[in-house]
Subunit: 347 residues, 2 copies
């Protein structure tokens, strides 16, 4: 079959690879009908060293179950399923608490950690299929597919940011970043009742989409200037919650600047730093809290899917390009150039 491999920064190729096959009785084989390129794929696309490649790519997909291992009980051939970006058994101590990204099962993993599998491909072997996959009550060609595909990562990740930030009707919110996750964080904050949602981003087409998702204010400036602009909107205090959907240090520093005393910075952009300011003058002085991490999107699918099925949420609007597998390398470049927001892949 054909699959996407990254050989290093800026070097993505579509190649023939061995067809996947069942390895464990809890596996399922899935023929992929829709997948996509993630903002987090752009981190290695900008920095991956050739000696670390080639790597199979893609951690968001919808597909049709083709074969199931002998111990798979909840799925059967022909089921249309969506896969979260993390493999989990959905039964361990941490999964039961809704923290599927810390699943204790030995086969639990991020798709990005699976050397021989990836979602930007024609097919995939899914470990712990009962725990990982969720059936979709639509046809593979449903117009809801783009929105349902966001359940695999970006919608659940934006929702996780908002949940970990404690967003509710009484909290003001800043969202840092106008990528797909930032826009989903806006949508999620709106859904949880926030009345003031400030979106910090510089791409008008994206921030316009953010406004339609619920952003009440848009700040196009960054750094100290951007911080002052958010403070000016919030009586000088900053917002109760800041959802950081970028992952670079300037975004974290900006988050400190726009967060109100006693507030929460909730990070879902994968940090591209390890050390950062958290001492007296940054977080401690005013009891600013820090939360977030890889979103346990599996935990949120049952809650979010009905809002997609009934049309309340239309997160699929983040896809502004569609390509087949051949077009995936160009889609990476277009997303890196900030020309495409998020590319849907139909293998």
């Amino acid at each position: 079959m054909r699959a996407t491999l990254m050989y290093g920064a800026g070097d993505v190729r579509i190649e023939n690879v061995p067809d996947p096959s069942l390895k464990h009785p809890t596996d399922a084989l899935v023929r992929i009908t829709a997948s996509c390129v993630c903002g987090s794929d752009l981190h290695p696309y900008s920095s991956m060293k050739p000696e670390d490649g080639p790597a199979r790519m893609g951690h968001e997909f919808i597909g049709i179950v083709e074969e199931t291992g002998s111990e798979v009980t909840t799925l059967r051939r022909g089921d249309l399923v969506v896969a979260p970006f993390a493999i989990s058994d959905n039964t361990c101590l941490f999964c039961r608490e809704g923290l599927h990204t810390s699943c204790a099962h030995p086969q639990a993993n991020f798709w990005d950690g699976e050397a021989e599998e990836g979602g930007q491909a024609e097919a995939v072997r899914v470990p712990l299929a009962d725990g990982t996959l969720v059936k979709l009550p639509v046809a593979p060609d449903s117009t809801l597919i783009p929105s349902l595909l966001t359940l695999s990562d970006v919608l659940g990740t934006g929702h996780h940011a908002a949940v970990m930030g404690g967003v509710n009707a009484r909290t003001s919110v800043t969202v840092i970043g106008d990528g797909a996750v930032g826009l989903m964080a806006v949508l999620a904050a709106k859904r949880l009742g926030a009345e003031q949602i400030v979106l910090m981003g510089r791409h008008t087409s994206r921030t316009d989409l953010g406004r339609s998702f619920g952003a009440t204010d848009v700040i196009a400036t960054r750094g100290e200037e951007g911080i002052e602009a958010v403070r000016a909107l919030t009586n000088g205090h900053g917002t109760h919650v800041t959802l950081e959907a970028v992952g670079h240090m300037p975004a974290y520093q900006q988050a400190i600047g726009v967060t109100r005393p006693g507030g929460i910075i909730s990070r879902v952009g994968v940090p591209q730093y390890e050390e950062a300011p958290i001492g007296f003058s940054s977080l401690f002085r005013h009891n600013i809290r820090l939360a977030g991490g890889p979103a346990p999107v599996r935990a949120y699918i049952e809650e979010l899917m009905p809002d997609i099925l009934d049309g309340t949420l239309t997160p699929g609007r983040v896809f502004d390009a569609t390509t087949d597998l051949d077009g995936v390398p160009a889609a990476y470049q277009s997303m890196a150039d900030r020309e495409t927001l998020k590319a849907l892949v139909t293998p």
Copy 2:
């Protein structure tokens, strides 16, 4: 009057200073009947440069109101009062939310930030007296005074750590540090219902007191060895909540090591660092949260005082030495040498 001044690391002196007097109509003058030396006083005692001194010392005290400004309405001459370590108006936006340490009033301050006032003295001018001071329903020579004095800082600080950590009957807790705040964090965690409380500390007399306050386990080792010991007590996972009551980097690193995926590190030890690890491999990977800061102890006095008055809580047991003002310099050294846990000062 006589007061305590720090001239630099290791150099604490008792000197004559001008008597305090009313400056603002919202001030009160208080004759101090009980104060104490704080673990946080030991930070400058180990590192203060002579050019930053001399500094008036002491931020915890009980005393008798001697004079009130014309706008003070809730206090009068003769009232026995306790003062939190932060001055606040108790009416601003942040005070109303219980975050008195971020009070927006221009005169709000930490006592440690008041150049000409301090609690280790015979008397003090208290700004924003209505907001800051809380009346005590006992006599100045009550046997409850040591326990009531802990309302000014260490009990409220330990309680804040536990509250910010989300401690309840379903959470396991590690407390890092067997100083007065660490022991108060044990007491507070027990009060909030925690059933497993692991105290990390090396001083047997202190950890014994910690056991009597509610610690179920004591770990005397530190670093990787200490982390492994806590994990061995918690099915390998670590505790849901870690209360960090030290403030030095090794304590923070230890906190990361003993905190369960999805757990919270709540810091009340004043950080002696600004940058620290918070990236993918420390906090982010397993959604570990970070909370804490200067405790708004004013917010907690009404909740905690009844438990002292009825004998449920005996936090005053952290005082293992009593001295007059002349003995304060020796008390600093004895606390720095870890011979005294916490010294009560009766001017």
